[in-house]
Amino acid sequence: MPLREIFHGYGSVIAMIKLNQVHKRYPGGYQALKNVTLEIAEGEMVFLTGHSGAGKSTLLKLIAAIERPNLGSVLVNHQNVGVLKPRALPYLRRNLGIIFQDHKLLFDRSVFDNVMLPLQICGFDYRESHKRARAALDKVGLLRREKSQPIALSGGEQQRLCIARAIVNRPSILLADEPTGNLDTEYAHEIMDIFKSFHQVGVTLLISTHDESVLKNDDARVLALKHGELQT
């Protein structure tokens, strides 16, 4: 990696996420992102809005290196994730908490075991991981449901379980793809309150949503995507 790229991130504040003239075109020819440049500082909470198909999910996937850009660079914590070797990917993702639009919960095990999975992957010891899993479930208000099966949870609870799993190994960056997508307003505000509490302890958050109502009371920065382009 050239030196210029390594030091690219150092501005006035430390940029946690930095996209530079990123283009993403899918194999079918669909252009999901066009010339996107943005910067998110450490500890910042940013909303990503836009109609469905505007490229919100694609942008999040580029940051998590689930997809790679065709052009431009994606820097996460000063690391160009677009050119990461496959064997380096797990270590990038351990520093990210990802909340998926479709939850991606595992229905063959209890709520508690779902939250344990990231800790087992990272190799935490038994006692510590149990403590952390309880703390994460407590944080999202699911501690009393720890022995339940995920299928028995309501939509809002499943979403909160997904959040608990994303934060349990205390990542410095949290990516959330439509976290309030299918929830009614009350649940949505609950979820947003949880995110705000992470923001207060210094976690960098990037939350995509097509639901403008959850933004109203916030002073957080909003990035708007339209047909794959960032609106200014």
Binding site: R93, I98, F100, K104, L117, L119, I121, R165
Partner: protein
Amino acid sequence: MRHAFDQNVGVLRRMFASKLSGVFNILVIGIALSLPAGMYVLLQNAQGLVDQFSGTPQISLFMSRDAKAADVDALRKQLEQQPEIERVQFVPRAQALEQLKKSSGLSDVIGGLSQNPLPDAFIVYPRPNQAEALDRLRTELAKLPKVEQAQLDSAWAYKLEALLKFGRMLVLILASLLSLALVAITFNTIRLQILTQREEIEVSKLIGATNAFIRRPFLYFGAIQGLLGGITAWLIISVSLMLLNHQLVGLAELYASQFALHPLSLGDSLTLLFFSMYLGWLGAWLSVARHLSQIEPR
């Protein structure tokens, strides 16, 4: 280490959850392995017999029934002059009859004979030599006067030895083929396991699991399945030998013999178990290498 153990136990418990198909898999592996291993045991036993006899090749010279004591002395002198012969032992016909009574278990039958049907005999101990040389010596000795018949006692042992060589090759081919089958069975089982756990693999990759972490429980599963198959094969062989020996005891008693089939030795047993475990691991490894890379999160 506790967490790793915990994780693997959890995954393995889920993998072994489908008990019936798992049992059948292990049974198939066990039977497949027990065929060559069982044949090997029988060959080992036959080899033991061959070693017992072919270790001291002898030529029996049966004299004609009308041979007198003088003929016996003359023949003894002639034999002792032969450079290929180490020593000779004379067996008078009376002694031969006694021996036959003792060893064959046919004393009742022999006791009923009115006269001794056996001839005088020499047992010739040649110097250690090749099978062909022994054969030539036998032909020479047969031409001596008053010799009715010369018989190479270990001839059948040599023939059996050749047969055993054939058998060993057969076992080798069978073992190779069935080992391949074991690898294929494990390959397929693991492929199905990977398919059913596709979601978990995908999520684990998204959360930051390394390939080694995802691979590990599948490799353990393959190795454990192979090992259980090996244990099954061992049990099949041991029980079969026990049953066979049970029958052999009766048979051996009839012939007043102590013959019994020896079971797998400790070393061979361990080799069988280790080998089956390794093959299971190999099948899992091939399967994981082939199928895991196809699962990428989207």
